[in-house]
Symmetry: C2
Subunit: 125 residues, 2 copies
């Protein structure tokens, strides 16, 4: 069984390749994904609907993990800068996330961030 | 030497008693404290200037830690709801924080949250 932090790191590496199938493979079918200032989504369809528009409009995705802590069992938290190369240049979003991992799959993901710098990005999707 | 998670939990317990001196005792003299959507502050004076106005206007402070993960050495991350009983009622702020702890004192604290629900609270200070 993969360590939970390896599952999370694999998911982020897949985001950085904009490989949505590899991203989804890291999630349980019934995952709950909540960008806290936005409405939660669930399931692979929910994760795809949230991430794929960013992968399509950003010519590069570079999520940088500054720190990551795991309890070694089922919980990983990380501090990141989620970077997107948009038509007008790089957008850097400071984020913290918590991931619940069970059976080698991410079952819950909650990201905490300020919405203000995200809005102009959403307006380009 | 206290475990890093105990130092963080003691700091939050002191916040919940609105005991600013006990709060400051958990921090290194040269602490860096950054509420990410706001300007960073530093030192005991910076922490006091940030927290004391909330302690004064909120009749109760109740920061609820939902999950906490430590690397056992120098880093603690937690997922919280920071609750303040304001004149108009409870305000609940979803937050994630990362704490760097060295020598039994918090040397860095960064909190990630959406600014929008904080603004009406700041306007009451």
């Amino acid at each position: 069984m993969s360590k939970p932090e390896h599952v999370v790191d694999a998911m982020i590496a897949a985001c950085n390749r904009k490989d949505i199938d590899a991203v989804l493979a890291c999630f349980a079918e019934d995952v709950h994904y909540h960008n806290i200032p936005m409405d939660p989504v669930s399931g692979h369809a929910g994760v795809r609907a949230m991430l794929e528009p960013f992968f399509k409009i950003a010519s590069e995705v570079d999520w940088v993990v500054h720190k990551s802590v795991s309890n070694g069992l089922d919980t990983v938290m990380n501090e990141r800068t989620d970077r997107f190369l948009m038509p007008d240049g790089w957008v850097d979003l400071p984020v913290m996330g918590v991931f619940e991992v069970n059976g080698g799959k991410i079952t819950a993901w909650r990201d905490y961030f300020d919405m203000a710098p995200v809005v102009p990005l959403l307006n380009q999707l």
